[in-house]
Symmetry: C2
Subunit: 342 residues, 2 copies
């Protein structure tokens, strides 16, 4: 991909200050190329679909870069953040009026955030907002079925959105490599949610030809951890990050030089206990009735992991998958387009 960032003279304008986005992009210590990609995705408006760059949204940029903005710009940012519906619908004049600044200031504000123009800014905003907005306005409007459904769907989409934003791609890749090369995989998790994740890991990975067992039983976990070899991999999930037994299992495994992978909250005991941590940090609402959308995020991580493993060991996986599929098809009926398994 050729990076001809800032085509046209309008982009940098007269001053030489780099886009804030450019500065942001390398923040998380990720691969540098991603940073370049992001900026390019913003600056160019060619037929590039919404890439990772598209996901690194104005919303976040505004919040994070608030400190670097001027007084007037902060006022604009606040209005946009607070009354977002107004912002996407308003004209530059209306927005300027509400922020008590002149229209040019708004244009400059947009430029500074890496947009080409005011309308580009609005588009970026609208694009992010559909999903990203709701986490600012937590609770459902009513308990009418339609509202509840809407709320759950939006929350789930948000969870995915936030997951993606905070995703440590490099860590996932390392984890996938470990799993792909493992002689045996142990997947641990307890409690309704994490045990589901462990089972899910098994469900995904055995199809790829991996040897894997899942357990939600603490005692078994400890014994398995003790029995594991350095050529194996132990992967464990804990939503709370405070599953003390899992921590013990990790410790045991690490003593025996068994690679360990944790899906959990970062900076938690479980996270510290594992060699590779795949962090999932999401805010949970207060509604105790509401099932956690966090699970969906965890599931997505499992999906990503499994996909990467699949690509790593492609030839082997194809054969196994085909065999399973074949078996299912003949077992049921001849519709080849059915899902793999039920």
């Amino acid at each position: 991909m050729v990076v001809t960032a800032c085509h046209g003279s309008a982009c940098m304008g007269t001053n030489d200050k780099p886009h804030l986005l450019a500065r942001l992009s390398t923040g998380a210590g990720g691969i540098d190329e991603i940073g370049v990609d992001r900026v390019a995705a913003y600056v160019s408006n060619v037929t590039r679909p919404a890439t990772r760059g598209g996901l690194m949204d104005i919303f976040t940029t505004m919040q994070e870069e608030r400190g670097r903005l001027s007084q007037s710009e902060i006022r604009i940012a606040d209005i946009v953040l607070n009354d977002f519906e107004f912002a996407v619908n308003a004209s530059i004049i209306e927005l300027a009026g509400k922020a008590d600044v002149s229209p040019p200031t708004v244009t400059r504000f947009c430029r500074r955030l890496g947009c080409e123009s005011f309308s580009d800014f609005k588009v970026q905003l609208a694009r992010t907002a559909y999903v990203g907005m709701r986490y600012l306005k937590p609770e459902p409007k009513s308990i009418a079925p339609a509202d509840v459904a809407q709320d759950i769907i939006t929350k789930a989409q948000n969870a995915l959105f936030l997951l993606h934003r905070g995703l440590d791609v490099a860590a996932i890749e390392r984890a996938a490599n470990r799993l792909a090369g493992a002689e045996m995989v142990y997947a641990f998790g307890s409690g309704g949610n994490s045990s589901m994740i462990a089972t899910e890991l098994q469900n995904r990975l055995f199809r790829l030809g991996l040897r894997i067992t899942a357990s939600s039983d603490h005692s078994m976990q400890l014994m398995m951890a003790a029995a594991a070899k350095p050529t194996d991999v132990l992967i464990g999930s804990s939503f709370s990050g405070r599953n003390a037994e899992l921590v013990r299992a990790f410790a045991l495994a690490r003593e025996a030089k068994v690679p360990t992978i944790a899906l959990t909250q970062s900076e938690s005991p479980v996270a510290h206990a594992a060699e590779i941590t795949l962090p999932v940090d999401l805010p949970e609402g207060d509604n105790i009735y509401r099932p956690t959308s966090t699970r969906i995020a965890y599931l997505a991580v499992v999906d990503i992991l499994a996909s990467l493993v699949a690509y790593r060991i492609q030839p082997q996986a194809t054969v196994t998958l085909r065999r399973i599929k074949q078996q299912l098809v003949t077992h049921r009926d001849g519709d080849d387009r059915q899902l793999l398994g039920d």
Copy 2:
């Protein structure tokens, strides 16, 4: 809410044709008020947050109303649908040029779709598109970890989006009522995916104080179905809709007048076998490596169901949840903000 749709003279313009959206809105047999709401949500640009109306997107409108559009308008719609990135970034002139029509035609096109203006159209488009776009462009760009992650996240969000669009809220409500009133619930599902859903149902519903058991064992399912009473409820999941054993279990239950609920593809054998069907109809991609994002949609249905049940039996649920939480907290450490279970 006061419905002053079409404020200002610009809205209807000179011709009296009602907005297509207005016609659409009552299509699915939903509550009429929702229809009104939708139009109002589009037409007014007050501080109303993205409601259900906001989800009923331009994209769908364009696809469904294609037949009613004029030649020129169809050309515009096609360009927007195909090269969506272009459409959100382009000015009205560029878009008009590409569609070989005049700018006014584009404006009229937007109006017809229920937008106030071209820029309103772009905003609506951008808003929907973030999520809704990808299902048109199926496969991931590369197998680089970042792309794979992006692909899976987007697909998952899309699955949720499509689920929501096709959701039969009335059916879910009926199902929730049935579950809330059941003396005992049997949750069935086989194969990695559906058995997870069954387990998940158990995991969600037992916390609300319901008596529930999950089984992925065909023989057990049959026996349980035979043993169930009319005051119980049988709920089963089948991604493929072709789980013959589940069909048999449903048949058995219905003979004994036991209410049956199915989470499955509509118009499938399983769907026909159950009294209430909660349809989940999503297109699956061709990439056999890719884990099904459909699971996430099913999980969302479970969430919605569980939430509704929770609201129905609120007092009881509060007590049970509190007890479980209490137990977990004392069992771990004192951090009350932890998730409910791991």
